[in-house]
Protein backbone atom coordinates (compact mmCIF):
# COMPACT_ATOMS: atom_id res chain seq x y z
CA UNK A 1 0.00 0.00 0.00
CA UNK A 2 1.50 3.33 -1.08
CA UNK A 3 1.82 6.04 1.56
CA UNK A 4 -0.71 8.84 1.88
CA UNK A 5 1.94 11.36 0.80
CA UNK A 6 2.63 9.42 -2.37
CA UNK A 7 -1.07 9.12 -3.16
CA UNK A 8 -1.54 12.86 -2.60
CA UNK A 9 1.38 13.62 -4.91
CA UNK A 10 0.01 11.35 -7.60
CA UNK A 11 -3.51 12.72 -7.31
CA UNK A 12 -2.26 16.29 -7.65
CA UNK A 13 -0.09 15.44 -10.64
CA UNK A 14 -3.10 13.73 -12.22
CA UNK A 15 -5.34 16.68 -11.50
CA UNK A 16 -2.91 19.12 -13.10
CA UNK A 17 -2.47 16.95 -16.20
CA UNK A 18 -6.23 16.50 -16.23
CA UNK A 19 -6.73 20.24 -16.65
CA UNK A 20 -4.67 20.09 -19.85
CA UNK A 21 -6.74 17.11 -21.00
CA UNK A 22 -9.80 19.13 -20.09
CA UNK A 23 -8.76 22.04 -22.31
CA UNK A 24 -8.22 19.62 -25.20
CA UNK A 25 -11.65 18.10 -24.61
CA UNK A 26 -13.16 21.56 -24.25
CA UNK A 27 -12.21 22.21 -27.87
CA UNK A 28 -14.01 19.06 -28.97
CA UNK A 29 -17.01 19.87 -26.79
CA UNK A 30 -17.39 23.42 -28.09
CA UNK A 31 -17.20 22.26 -31.70
CA UNK A 32 -19.72 19.50 -31.12
CA UNK A 33 -22.02 21.67 -29.02
CA UNK A 34 -22.34 24.30 -31.73
CA UNK A 35 -21.60 22.73 -35.11
CA UNK A 36 -22.93 19.27 -34.13
CA UNK A 37 -19.95 17.67 -35.85
CA UNK A 38 -17.62 15.36 -33.94
CA UNK A 39 -14.05 16.30 -34.78
CA UNK A 40 -12.50 12.87 -35.22
CA UNK A 41 -9.19 14.56 -36.05
CA UNK A 42 -9.07 16.27 -32.66
CA UNK A 43 -6.24 14.24 -31.11
CA UNK A 44 -4.26 14.39 -34.33
CA UNK A 45 -4.53 18.19 -34.19
CA UNK A 46 -3.26 17.97 -30.62
CA UNK A 47 -0.13 16.11 -31.80
CA UNK A 48 0.39 18.63 -34.59
CA UNK A 49 0.34 21.39 -31.97
CA UNK A 50 2.89 19.44 -29.94
CA UNK A 51 5.14 19.15 -33.00
CA UNK A 52 4.72 22.86 -33.68
CA UNK A 53 5.98 23.56 -30.16
CA UNK A 54 8.92 21.17 -30.71
CA UNK A 55 9.85 22.84 -34.00
CA UNK A 56 9.56 26.39 -32.61
CA UNK A 57 11.66 25.37 -29.63
CA UNK A 58 14.28 23.69 -31.82
CA UNK A 59 14.53 26.54 -34.30
CA UNK A 60 14.14 29.64 -32.10
CA UNK A 61 14.50 28.31 -28.54
CA UNK A 62 10.94 29.54 -28.14
CA UNK A 63 9.49 28.48 -24.80
CA UNK A 64 6.24 26.51 -25.26
CA UNK A 65 4.48 29.15 -23.17
CA UNK A 66 5.38 31.73 -25.82
CA UNK A 67 4.77 29.26 -28.65
CA UNK A 68 1.15 29.15 -27.48
CA UNK A 69 0.41 32.48 -29.17
CA UNK A 70 1.56 31.80 -32.75
CA UNK A 71 0.45 28.16 -32.67
CA UNK A 72 -3.03 29.06 -31.40
CA UNK A 73 -3.35 31.82 -34.01
CA UNK A 74 -2.37 29.47 -36.83
CA UNK A 75 -4.68 26.75 -35.53
CA UNK A 76 -7.54 29.23 -35.29
CA UNK A 77 -7.06 30.14 -38.95
CA UNK A 78 -6.67 26.50 -39.92
CA UNK A 79 -9.80 25.52 -38.00
CA UNK A 80 -11.78 28.36 -39.57
CA UNK A 81 -10.69 27.37 -43.06
CA UNK A 82 -11.33 23.68 -42.43
CA UNK A 83 -14.91 24.36 -41.30
CA UNK A 84 -15.65 26.92 -44.01
CA UNK A 85 -14.07 24.96 -46.85
CA UNK A 86 -14.34 21.33 -45.93
CA UNK A 87 -16.95 20.64 -43.27
CA UNK A 88 -19.71 23.17 -44.06
CA UNK A 89 -20.57 21.38 -47.32
CA UNK A 90 -20.98 18.19 -45.25
CA UNK A 91 -23.14 19.72 -42.55
CA UNK A 92 -26.46 18.61 -44.00
CA UNK A 93 -25.15 15.20 -45.03
CA UNK A 94 -25.67 12.05 -42.97
CA UNK A 95 -23.44 11.54 -39.93
CA UNK A 96 -21.51 8.63 -41.42
CA UNK A 97 -20.23 10.78 -44.27
CA UNK A 98 -19.10 13.48 -41.83
CA UNK A 99 -17.39 10.71 -39.88
CA UNK A 100 -15.57 9.44 -42.99
CA UNK A 101 -14.45 12.96 -43.88
CA UNK A 102 -12.90 13.67 -40.49
CA UNK A 103 -11.37 10.20 -40.12
CA UNK A 104 -9.75 10.75 -43.51
CA UNK A 105 -8.37 14.08 -42.32
CA UNK A 106 -7.06 12.35 -39.19
CA UNK A 107 -5.29 9.58 -41.14
CA UNK A 108 -3.69 12.14 -43.44
CA UNK A 109 -2.46 14.12 -40.44
CA UNK A 110 -0.85 11.11 -38.75
CA UNK A 111 0.94 10.05 -41.92
CA UNK A 112 2.14 13.51 -42.86
CA UNK A 113 3.63 13.79 -39.37
CA UNK A 114 5.29 10.38 -39.87
CA UNK A 115 6.76 11.52 -43.20
CA UNK A 116 8.13 14.74 -41.72
CA UNK A 117 9.28 13.70 -38.26
CA UNK A 118 9.59 9.91 -38.42
CA UNK A 119 8.38 7.56 -35.73
CA UNK A 120 10.78 8.42 -32.92
CA UNK A 121 9.76 10.42 -29.86
CA UNK A 122 10.52 14.14 -29.66
CA UNK A 123 10.25 16.58 -26.79
CA UNK A 124 11.34 19.98 -25.52
CA UNK A 125 13.66 20.45 -22.58
CA UNK A 126 13.40 23.58 -20.49
CA UNK A 127 14.92 24.26 -17.08
CA UNK A 128 11.69 24.48 -15.16
CA UNK A 129 10.70 20.93 -16.07
CA UNK A 130 13.15 19.82 -13.36
CA UNK A 131 11.96 22.32 -10.76
CA UNK A 132 9.14 21.87 -8.32
CA UNK A 133 7.26 23.68 -5.59
CA UNK A 134 7.32 22.03 -2.16
CA UNK A 135 4.48 22.17 0.33
CA UNK A 136 5.48 19.92 3.20
CA UNK A 137 5.55 16.39 1.89
CA UNK A 138 3.80 17.35 -1.37
CA UNK A 139 5.72 18.28 -4.51
CA UNK A 140 4.21 20.23 -7.36
CA UNK A 141 6.09 19.89 -10.67
CA UNK A 142 6.61 23.43 -11.83
CA UNK A 143 5.96 22.59 -15.49
CA UNK A 144 2.76 20.78 -14.59
CA UNK A 145 1.50 23.63 -12.43
CA UNK A 146 2.22 26.19 -15.12
CA UNK A 147 0.65 24.03 -17.82
CA UNK A 148 -2.48 23.54 -15.73
CA UNK A 149 -2.58 27.28 -15.01
CA UNK A 150 -2.41 28.05 -18.71
CA UNK A 151 -5.19 25.52 -19.40
CA UNK A 152 -7.37 27.11 -16.74
CA UNK A 153 -6.68 30.63 -17.96
CA UNK A 154 -7.49 29.67 -21.56
CA UNK A 155 -10.72 27.99 -20.46
CA UNK A 156 -11.68 31.02 -18.38
CA UNK A 157 -11.02 33.24 -21.39
CA UNK A 158 -13.26 31.04 -23.51
CA UNK A 159 -16.04 31.07 -20.90
CA UNK A 160 -15.84 34.86 -20.72
CA UNK A 161 -15.91 35.12 -24.51
CA UNK A 162 -19.12 33.08 -24.68
CA UNK A 163 -20.73 34.95 -21.80
CA UNK A 164 -19.88 38.57 -22.52
CA UNK A 165 -19.11 39.20 -26.20
CA UNK A 166 -21.69 39.63 -28.94
CA UNK A 167 -19.95 37.06 -31.12
CA UNK A 168 -19.82 34.59 -28.23
CA UNK A 169 -23.52 35.07 -27.53
CA UNK A 170 -24.30 34.67 -31.23
CA UNK A 171 -22.42 31.36 -31.25
CA UNK A 172 -24.46 30.23 -28.24
CA UNK A 173 -27.61 31.32 -30.05
CA UNK A 174 -26.66 29.12 -33.04
CA UNK A 175 -26.15 26.17 -30.70
CA UNK A 176 -29.44 26.90 -28.95
CA UNK A 177 -31.65 27.20 -32.00
CA UNK A 178 -30.16 26.92 -35.45
CA UNK A 179 -33.34 27.94 -37.27
CA UNK A 180 -33.81 30.83 -34.83
CA UNK A 181 -30.31 32.03 -35.66
CA UNK A 182 -31.19 32.14 -39.37
CA UNK A 183 -34.49 33.85 -38.58
CA UNK A 184 -32.76 36.79 -36.87
CA UNK A 185 -30.14 37.02 -39.59
CA UNK A 186 -27.03 35.60 -37.92
CA UNK A 187 -24.40 34.39 -40.37
CA UNK A 188 -24.50 30.79 -39.22
CA UNK A 189 -21.78 29.43 -41.50
CA UNK A 190 -19.34 32.14 -40.42
CA UNK A 191 -20.16 31.50 -36.75
CA UNK A 192 -19.64 27.74 -37.27
CA UNK A 193 -16.24 28.42 -38.79
CA UNK A 194 -15.33 30.74 -35.90
CA UNK A 195 -16.36 28.01 -33.48
CA UNK A 196 -14.20 25.42 -35.21
CA UNK A 197 -11.37 27.94 -35.13
CA UNK A 198 -11.82 28.47 -31.39
CA UNK A 199 -11.98 24.73 -30.72
CA UNK A 200 -8.78 24.31 -32.73
CA UNK A 201 -7.10 27.11 -30.78
CA UNK A 202 -7.98 25.28 -27.54
CA UNK A 203 -6.27 22.17 -28.87
CA UNK A 204 -3.27 24.27 -29.89
CA UNK A 205 -2.83 25.62 -26.37
CA UNK A 206 -3.37 22.16 -24.87
CA UNK A 207 -0.78 20.67 -27.25
CA UNK A 208 1.84 23.31 -26.44
CA UNK A 209 1.33 22.55 -22.75
CA UNK A 210 1.27 18.80 -23.17
CA UNK A 211 4.72 18.76 -24.80
CA UNK A 212 6.09 19.94 -21.45
CA UNK A 213 4.70 16.80 -19.83
CA UNK A 214 5.12 13.98 -22.38
CA UNK A 215 7.12 13.10 -25.49
CA UNK A 216 5.33 13.18 -28.82
CA UNK A 217 5.12 10.55 -31.57
CA UNK A 218 2.82 10.82 -34.60
CA UNK A 219 0.75 7.82 -33.53
CA UNK A 220 -0.29 9.55 -30.31
CA UNK A 221 -3.13 11.21 -32.24
CA UNK A 222 -5.84 8.54 -32.32
CA UNK A 223 -5.34 7.89 -28.60
CA UNK A 224 -5.89 11.57 -27.82
CA UNK A 225 -8.99 11.69 -30.02
CA UNK A 226 -10.43 8.78 -28.06
CA UNK A 227 -9.38 10.39 -24.77
CA UNK A 228 -11.03 13.68 -25.66
CA UNK A 229 -14.15 11.80 -26.67
CA UNK A 230 -14.26 9.82 -23.42
CA UNK A 231 -13.76 13.02 -21.38
CA UNK A 232 -16.51 14.86 -23.19
CA UNK A 233 -18.99 12.00 -22.77
CA UNK A 234 -18.12 11.64 -19.07
CA UNK A 235 -18.43 15.39 -18.50
CA UNK A 236 -21.52 15.80 -20.64
CA UNK A 237 -21.64 16.41 -24.38
CA UNK A 238 -21.85 20.14 -25.05
CA UNK A 239 -21.19 21.18 -21.44
CA UNK A 240 -18.12 23.37 -21.13
CA UNK A 241 -17.55 22.95 -17.37
CA UNK A 242 -18.24 19.24 -17.94
CA UNK A 243 -15.26 18.97 -20.29
CA UNK A 244 -12.88 20.43 -17.70
CA UNK A 245 -14.35 18.32 -14.93
CA UNK A 246 -14.16 15.18 -17.07
CA UNK A 247 -10.55 16.02 -17.90
CA UNK A 248 -9.64 16.24 -14.22
CA UNK A 249 -11.41 12.93 -13.49
CA UNK A 250 -9.57 11.17 -16.28
CA UNK A 251 -6.24 12.74 -15.31
CA UNK A 252 -6.60 11.61 -11.70
CA UNK A 253 -7.87 8.16 -12.64
CA UNK A 254 -4.96 7.60 -15.02
CA UNK A 255 -2.50 8.62 -12.33
CA UNK A 256 -4.11 6.36 -9.74
CA UNK A 257 -4.13 3.43 -12.17
CA UNK A 258 -0.42 3.94 -12.70
CA UNK A 259 0.15 3.92 -8.97
CA UNK A 260 -2.03 0.99 -7.93
CA UNK A 261 -1.74 -1.24 -10.99
CA UNK A 262 0.63 -0.57 -13.85
CA UNK A 263 1.12 2.55 -15.97
CA UNK A 264 -0.03 0.54 -18.99
CA UNK A 265 -3.41 0.05 -17.26
CA UNK A 266 -4.13 3.77 -17.19
CA UNK A 267 -6.75 3.78 -19.96
CA UNK A 268 -8.63 0.99 -18.22
CA UNK A 269 -9.85 3.31 -15.48
CA UNK A 270 -11.00 5.92 -17.95
CA UNK A 271 -13.05 3.44 -19.90
CA UNK A 272 -14.50 1.98 -16.72
CA UNK A 273 -15.64 5.49 -15.77
CA UNK A 274 -17.08 5.91 -19.25
CA UNK A 275 -19.11 2.71 -18.95
CA UNK A 276 -20.39 3.71 -15.51
CA UNK A 277 -21.45 7.13 -16.78
CA UNK A 278 -23.17 5.64 -19.83
CA UNK A 279 -25.04 3.20 -17.60
CA UNK A 280 -26.15 5.54 -14.85
CA UNK A 281 -26.02 9.06 -16.25
CA UNK A 282 -26.01 8.87 -20.04
CA UNK A 283 -26.16 12.65 -20.49
CA UNK A 284 -22.81 12.96 -18.67
CA UNK A 285 -22.00 14.18 -15.18
CA UNK A 286 -22.67 17.86 -15.90
CA UNK A 287 -24.76 17.38 -19.04
CA UNK A 288 -28.32 18.54 -19.43
CA UNK A 289 -31.06 15.99 -19.96
CA UNK A 290 -31.91 15.80 -23.65
Amino acid sequence: MPSIDLIANVVIAGLLTGLVYGLMALGLSVIFGVVRVVNFAHGEMMTIAMYCAVVLFGAFKLDPFLAVLPVAAVFFGFGYAMQAGLINPFITRPEHSQFMLLVAVAIIMVNVLLMIFGPSALNVQVDYQLESYEFGPILFDKARVLAAGMALATSAGLFAFFKYTNTGKAIRACADNNLGAKVVGLNVKHLYALTFGLGSACVAVAGCMMILLVDVVPTLGPGYTLLAFVIVIIGGLGSMPGALFGGILIGVSEAMAGLFFAPSAKSMFGFALLILVLLFRPQGLLGRKP
Partner: protein
Protein backbone atom coordinates in the same frame (compact mmCIF):
# COMPACT_ATOMS: atom_id res chain seq x y z
CA UNK B 1 -48.60 52.83 -54.25
CA UNK B 2 -45.56 50.72 -54.98
CA UNK B 3 -44.98 47.05 -54.30
CA UNK B 4 -42.44 46.56 -51.53
CA UNK B 5 -42.18 42.82 -52.06
CA UNK B 6 -42.89 41.06 -55.35
CA UNK B 7 -42.87 37.34 -55.89
CA UNK B 8 -43.01 35.82 -59.32
CA UNK B 9 -43.57 32.15 -60.20
CA UNK B 10 -41.78 30.83 -57.14
CA UNK B 11 -41.12 27.07 -57.09
CA UNK B 12 -39.78 25.32 -54.02
CA UNK B 13 -38.98 21.63 -53.59
CA UNK B 14 -37.96 19.51 -50.62
CA UNK B 15 -36.14 16.72 -52.41
CA UNK B 16 -38.70 15.57 -54.97
CA UNK B 17 -41.71 16.93 -53.10
CA UNK B 18 -42.98 20.21 -54.45
CA UNK B 19 -43.90 22.66 -51.69
CA UNK B 20 -44.60 25.78 -53.77
CA UNK B 21 -45.70 25.92 -57.35
CA UNK B 22 -45.58 29.10 -59.42
CA UNK B 23 -46.52 31.32 -56.53
CA UNK B 24 -46.87 34.97 -57.49
CA UNK B 25 -47.94 37.75 -55.19
CA UNK B 26 -47.11 41.28 -54.24
CA UNK B 27 -47.10 43.17 -50.98
CA UNK B 28 -47.69 46.92 -51.12
CA UNK B 29 -45.72 49.19 -48.85
CA UNK B 30 -47.49 50.09 -45.61
CA UNK B 31 -50.18 47.40 -45.92
CA UNK B 32 -51.11 44.23 -44.10
CA UNK B 33 -51.22 41.36 -46.56
CA UNK B 34 -52.52 37.96 -45.45
CA UNK B 35 -51.84 34.51 -46.79
CA UNK B 36 -54.39 32.00 -45.61
CA UNK B 37 -54.61 28.30 -46.17
CA UNK B 38 -54.81 24.93 -44.45
CA UNK B 39 -52.02 23.17 -42.62
CA UNK B 40 -49.40 21.98 -45.11
CA UNK B 41 -50.56 24.31 -47.87
CA UNK B 42 -47.04 25.76 -48.08
CA UNK B 43 -47.45 28.97 -46.09
CA UNK B 44 -44.38 28.51 -43.93
CA UNK B 45 -42.38 27.30 -46.92
CA UNK B 46 -43.23 30.52 -48.71
CA UNK B 47 -41.97 32.63 -45.82
CA UNK B 48 -38.78 30.60 -45.54
CA UNK B 49 -38.17 30.91 -49.25
CA UNK B 50 -38.57 34.70 -49.07
CA UNK B 51 -36.29 34.87 -46.01
CA UNK B 52 -33.55 32.89 -47.73
CA UNK B 53 -33.73 29.98 -45.33
CA UNK B 54 -34.92 27.67 -48.12
CA UNK B 55 -33.55 28.01 -51.65
CA UNK B 56 -36.26 28.11 -54.33
CA UNK B 57 -35.72 26.13 -57.52
CA UNK B 58 -37.37 28.67 -59.76
CA UNK B 59 -38.94 32.11 -59.82
CA UNK B 60 -37.94 35.46 -58.39
CA UNK B 61 -38.29 37.44 -55.22
CA UNK B 62 -37.82 41.21 -55.37
CA UNK B 63 -37.65 43.62 -52.46
CA UNK B 64 -37.79 47.35 -53.26
CA UNK B 65 -37.18 46.35 -56.86
CA UNK B 66 -33.93 44.50 -56.10
CA UNK B 67 -33.76 40.80 -56.74
CA UNK B 68 -33.13 38.88 -53.50
CA UNK B 69 -33.92 35.35 -54.73
CA UNK B 70 -31.86 32.64 -53.10
CA UNK B 71 -29.55 34.91 -51.13
CA UNK B 72 -28.46 34.01 -47.61
CA UNK B 73 -30.88 34.83 -44.79
CA UNK B 74 -28.51 37.26 -43.05
CA UNK B 75 -28.34 39.36 -46.21
CA UNK B 76 -32.11 39.35 -46.56
CA UNK B 77 -32.60 40.31 -42.90
CA UNK B 78 -30.10 43.12 -43.29
CA UNK B 79 -32.12 44.53 -46.18
CA UNK B 80 -35.05 45.05 -43.83
CA UNK B 81 -37.06 41.85 -44.07
CA UNK B 82 -37.78 40.64 -40.56
CA UNK B 83 -39.52 37.49 -39.51
CA UNK B 84 -41.51 36.26 -36.53
CA UNK B 85 -41.24 32.57 -37.22
CA UNK B 86 -43.62 29.73 -36.58
CA UNK B 87 -43.00 28.25 -33.14
CA UNK B 88 -41.34 31.56 -32.16
CA UNK B 89 -37.81 30.16 -32.49
CA UNK B 90 -36.40 32.08 -29.55
CA UNK B 91 -33.11 31.05 -27.93
CA UNK B 92 -34.23 29.12 -24.82
CA UNK B 93 -30.95 29.13 -22.85
CA UNK B 94 -30.22 32.80 -23.55
CA UNK B 95 -31.71 35.52 -21.37
CA UNK B 96 -34.40 37.89 -22.61
CA UNK B 97 -31.85 40.66 -23.08
CA UNK B 98 -29.46 38.35 -24.92
CA UNK B 99 -32.28 37.21 -27.22
CA UNK B 100 -33.02 40.83 -28.07
CA UNK B 101 -29.33 41.60 -28.58
CA UNK B 102 -29.16 38.81 -31.18
CA UNK B 103 -31.86 40.56 -33.19
CA UNK B 104 -29.91 43.80 -33.06
CA UNK B 105 -26.63 42.45 -34.42
CA UNK B 106 -27.56 43.14 -38.05
CA UNK B 107 -25.25 45.79 -39.50
CA UNK B 108 -28.29 47.95 -40.34
CA UNK B 109 -29.46 47.93 -36.71
CA UNK B 110 -26.32 47.61 -34.62
CA UNK B 111 -25.67 51.30 -34.01
CA UNK B 112 -29.17 51.92 -32.68
CA UNK B 113 -29.55 48.64 -30.79
CA UNK B 114 -29.56 50.17 -27.27
CA UNK B 115 -32.20 52.72 -28.19
CA UNK B 116 -34.33 50.12 -29.99
CA UNK B 117 -34.18 47.85 -26.95
CA UNK B 118 -35.57 50.65 -24.79
CA UNK B 119 -38.42 51.05 -27.28
CA UNK B 120 -39.10 47.30 -27.21
CA UNK B 121 -39.17 47.37 -23.40
CA UNK B 122 -41.63 50.28 -23.49
CA UNK B 123 -43.82 48.34 -25.88
CA UNK B 124 -43.54 45.10 -23.90
CA UNK B 125 -43.16 45.94 -20.20
CA UNK B 126 -43.36 42.20 -19.41
CA UNK B 127 -40.04 41.69 -21.17
CA UNK B 128 -38.44 44.51 -19.19
CA UNK B 129 -39.55 42.84 -15.96
CA UNK B 130 -38.00 39.58 -17.06
CA UNK B 131 -34.89 40.88 -18.77
CA UNK B 132 -32.50 38.43 -17.07
CA UNK B 133 -34.77 35.41 -17.18
CA UNK B 134 -33.90 32.53 -19.51
CA UNK B 135 -36.24 32.79 -22.49
CA UNK B 136 -37.11 29.08 -22.43
CA UNK B 137 -38.69 29.43 -18.99
CA UNK B 138 -41.29 32.00 -20.08
CA UNK B 139 -44.89 31.34 -21.08
CA UNK B 140 -45.88 30.93 -24.72
CA UNK B 141 -47.39 34.42 -24.86
CA UNK B 142 -44.29 36.00 -23.36
CA UNK B 143 -42.10 34.10 -25.80
CA UNK B 144 -44.21 35.43 -28.66
CA UNK B 145 -43.69 38.99 -27.39
CA UNK B 146 -39.97 38.24 -27.20
CA UNK B 147 -39.96 36.91 -30.76
CA UNK B 148 -41.68 40.08 -31.95
CA UNK B 149 -39.33 42.29 -29.91
CA UNK B 150 -36.30 40.43 -31.22
CA UNK B 151 -37.53 40.98 -34.77
CA UNK B 152 -38.04 44.70 -34.11
CA UNK B 153 -34.41 44.94 -32.92
CA UNK B 154 -33.41 44.43 -36.57
CA UNK B 155 -35.26 47.60 -37.70
CA UNK B 156 -37.40 45.76 -40.25
CA UNK B 157 -39.40 47.51 -42.97
CA UNK B 158 -41.36 44.34 -43.64
CA UNK B 159 -42.25 41.78 -40.98
CA UNK B 160 -43.39 38.32 -41.98
CA UNK B 161 -45.53 36.77 -39.24
CA UNK B 162 -45.81 32.99 -39.45
CA UNK B 163 -48.75 31.65 -37.41
CA UNK B 164 -48.35 34.18 -34.61
CA UNK B 165 -51.50 32.99 -32.81
CA UNK B 166 -50.65 29.30 -32.83
CA UNK B 167 -50.87 27.68 -29.41
CA UNK B 168 -51.69 30.88 -27.53
CA UNK B 169 -54.56 31.62 -25.16
CA UNK B 170 -57.45 33.62 -26.75
CA UNK B 171 -56.68 36.82 -24.81
CA UNK B 172 -53.04 36.63 -25.90
CA UNK B 173 -54.12 36.05 -29.49
CA UNK B 174 -56.11 39.30 -29.37
CA UNK B 175 -53.07 41.08 -27.99
CA UNK B 176 -50.87 39.72 -30.77
CA UNK B 177 -53.26 40.94 -33.46
CA UNK B 178 -53.43 44.29 -31.71
CA UNK B 179 -49.63 44.51 -31.79
CA UNK B 180 -49.59 43.64 -35.48
CA UNK B 181 -51.98 46.51 -36.22
CA UNK B 182 -49.99 48.87 -34.03
CA UNK B 183 -46.76 48.03 -35.86
CA UNK B 184 -48.53 48.52 -39.17
CA UNK B 185 -49.82 51.91 -38.02
CA UNK B 186 -46.19 52.85 -37.34
CA UNK B 187 -45.45 52.24 -41.01
CA UNK B 188 -44.13 48.67 -40.98
CA UNK B 189 -45.46 46.52 -43.81
CA UNK B 190 -46.85 43.17 -42.68
CA UNK B 191 -47.04 39.83 -44.43
CA UNK B 192 -49.27 37.66 -42.24
CA UNK B 193 -49.57 33.92 -42.52
CA UNK B 194 -52.37 32.52 -40.38
CA UNK B 195 -54.72 29.64 -39.84
CA UNK B 196 -57.03 32.03 -38.03
CA UNK B 197 -58.62 33.02 -41.32
CA UNK B 198 -61.44 35.28 -40.14
CA UNK B 199 -59.27 37.58 -38.05
CA UNK B 200 -56.44 37.82 -40.54
CA UNK B 201 -58.81 38.65 -43.42
CA UNK B 202 -60.46 41.31 -41.27
CA UNK B 203 -57.24 43.20 -40.65
CA UNK B 204 -55.62 42.76 -44.05
CA UNK B 205 -55.85 45.02 -47.09
CA UNK B 206 -54.97 42.27 -49.51
CA UNK B 207 -55.13 38.50 -49.13
CA UNK B 208 -54.16 35.32 -50.96
CA UNK B 209 -55.46 31.80 -50.51
CA UNK B 210 -52.80 29.11 -50.76
CA UNK B 211 -53.78 25.48 -51.48
CA UNK B 212 -51.30 22.69 -52.11
CA UNK B 213 -48.53 25.14 -52.83
CA UNK B 214 -50.53 27.23 -55.30
CA UNK B 215 -52.30 30.56 -55.02
CA UNK B 216 -55.93 29.70 -55.81
CA UNK B 217 -57.63 32.96 -54.95
CA UNK B 218 -56.78 36.55 -54.16
CA UNK B 219 -58.53 39.79 -53.43
CA UNK B 220 -59.00 42.40 -50.75
CA UNK B 221 -59.39 41.05 -47.24
CA UNK B 222 -63.02 42.19 -47.16
CA UNK B 223 -63.98 40.51 -50.44
CA UNK B 224 -62.44 37.17 -49.43
CA UNK B 225 -64.09 37.41 -46.04
CA UNK B 226 -67.46 37.41 -47.78
CA UNK B 227 -66.56 34.87 -50.46
CA UNK B 228 -68.67 31.73 -50.11
CA UNK B 229 -65.88 29.34 -51.05
CA UNK B 230 -63.54 30.85 -48.46
CA UNK B 231 -66.24 30.84 -45.83
CA UNK B 232 -67.05 27.18 -46.49
CA UNK B 233 -63.52 25.91 -46.76
CA UNK B 234 -61.80 27.90 -43.99
CA UNK B 235 -64.40 29.23 -41.62
CA UNK B 236 -66.82 26.32 -41.53
CA UNK B 237 -69.75 28.57 -42.38
Amino acid sequence: MSALLEIENLDLYYGDAQALSEVSLSVDEGKIVAIVGANGAGKSSLIRAIAGIEKPRGGRVRFRGNEITGQESYTTCNQGIGQVAEGRQIFPTLSVVENLEMGGLLPRARAKAKQTMDEVFTMFPRLAERRDQLAGTMSGGEQQMLAIGRCLMGQPELIMFDEPSLGLAPTVVQEVFHIIRTLNAKGITILLVEQNVAVSLKISAQAYVLENGRIVMSGTGGSLLHDDRVRQAYMGL
